[in-house]
Amino acid sequence: MVTLQTVFGLGVAMLITKIKRGGNIFRTLFYLPYLAPPVISTLVFVYLFDAGGPINAILAHVGVHNPPGWFNSPTWFKPSLTLLSLWGIGNTVVIFFASLLDVPKEQMEAAMLDGAGPVKRFRFVTLPAIQPVILFSVVTGVIYTMQYYTQAIVAGEVASGHVATAGTTLDIGYPLGSSLTVPQLISQQGILNANTGPACVLSILLFVMTMLFTLILLRRKNGLVGGD
């Protein structure tokens, strides 16, 4: 998921740098989904991919008559969620876009004069220049994915049709545990079942994993803590 997010985010950002007219509208458009409350974006996506929803209707028009079960199928649940996360990519795009504008123009021109094609220019000029930003977005991406909670639980609840009251899922991890994430397990065990012990163990586990990735960021020479 993080890989896709990074590649897709970078792609969209590069696209924006190429567009001269209407770029502003486009930027607004891709940033809005990021601001949409996760509950809403999830609800909208579950509706879109519902068995009788618009996506399947469109698919039927182009001749796909047995579409996958999307949020109701253990195999397709995660890909559907990934699609949802790609939709909310605005933040990453803004960061990449800003860093692409900071790529030194002189280096680009020098590479052009030396006869480097677009692929080589990207590989040897653009990538090294934005490398720290990529690292930042990958690490934060991994950390945010580890705390994936709202989207997974809302999608699972609504797709399964078991929303008794918000917060008490009858069918956690629907379908077949494929939407179960560590944070969900923590709140399920600790708050609904009052199994404080196991929940704390899971919290520590999550904490250790998060810190490992945070260390990567902190170890950078010109890191987040530097500057005066």
Partner: protein
């Protein structure tokens, strides 16, 4: 002579012309490629919004059919949502959560960020490391001890207070963003204020705060939206107490046991998302600058 001279000239011009037209053709192709990709991306990003709006005005029987366009526009859906028991209460609760959180975060985070950016003291580096780590810790890691503290010790389970009060003690992400911005404020201004006889607090309020207004605006907006969108926090503390639900929790209830009022749900979604969209259009620059500040310069 002229006759002898002319062929090379024309040939030269010919090469030039073909080269130029090839370059032009390549640029045209690139233009087409970029713009068709952009259109595909635009459809991907706008599509869900399109269906959100279109479905919200569909009649009841049509919303379950996967229809792509409403047979007639049923504006009364919004009325039904508005009149639905609870919706106004959720709106009020969400505001009662989001507004104090925003104010408290700004008031508490600015002084901390100022100290971290402009004061020299021992363990400042360590303080920054702690801050960045705190920023990265998922809320679910700290939820268990916090939950036990707030519900068992203070007996505030079922209210939104456990989510509001902690923001009076600073928010790691906001402090970080403000601090990054404060680094760009020249020290000379602060020194000048001191020379003119301002104490630390007056320097902060009269000189520094006006200079970092864009960053403060960004932090306030981010915090407000965070609270507005928050699902996990309210679920933990008020999930069992529907009277204190926020919008994020309430939205799910448009889903009954065996059927979904998709049209009403989308209408409700639209009413929750609308304030965000409006604010965003007015404050777009603030957002983009805020995001860039933490990501690129970080």
């Amino acid at each position: 002579m002229a006759a002898v001279m002319s062929p090379p000239v024309t040939r030269h011009a010919g090469i030039n012309r073909t080269a130029r037209s090839a370059a032009r053709r390549r640029r045209a192709l690139e233009w087409i490629a970029v713009h068709s990709l952009a259109i595909v991306a635009a459809v991907f990003f706008a599509g869900p919004f399109f269906f959100l709006v279109v479905t919200s005005v569909m009649p009841d029987n049509q919303a379950l059919s996967g229809a792509l366009w409403p047979s007639h526009w049923q504006w009364s859906n919004f009325r039904s949502v508005w009149d639905r028991a609870g919706f106004l209460t959720w709106y009020k609760n969400t505001l009662m959560y989001a507004i104090p959180v925003t104010v408290l975060t700004v008031v508490s985070s600015v002084p901390v960020a100022y100290a971290l950016a402009k004061f020299k003291f021992r363990y400042r580096r360590l303080a920054m490391i702690v801050l960045v780590s705190a920023m990265m810790i998922p809320p679910q890691v700290t939820v268990m001890p916090m939950y036990i503290l707030w519900t068992k010790q203070f007996g505030l389970g079922g209210t939104l207070w456990p989510l509001i009060v902690p923001t009076a003690f600073g928010d790691a992400y906001s402090i970080f963003l403000l601090r990054q911005f404060l680094l760009t404020v020249p020290k000379e201004y602060i020194d000048a204020a001191k020379v003119d006889g301002c104490g630390e607090i007056r320097t902060l309020l009269r000189v520094v705060v006006p200079m970092i207004r864009p960053a403060i605006a960004a932090v306030a907006l981010f915090q407000f939206f965070y609270a507005w969108n928050d699902y996990f926090g309210p679920q933990v503390y008020v999930g069992a107490n529907p009277g204190n639900w926020t919008l994020a929790l309430g939205l799910e209830t448009f889903h009954a046991a065996h059927h979904v009022d998709w049209n009403l749900m989308m209408a409700a979604n639209l009413m929750v998302i609308a304030p965000i969209v409006v604010v965003f259009f007015f404050a777009q620059k603030v957002f983009v600058e805020g995001v860039t500040l933490t990501g690129v310069k970080g």
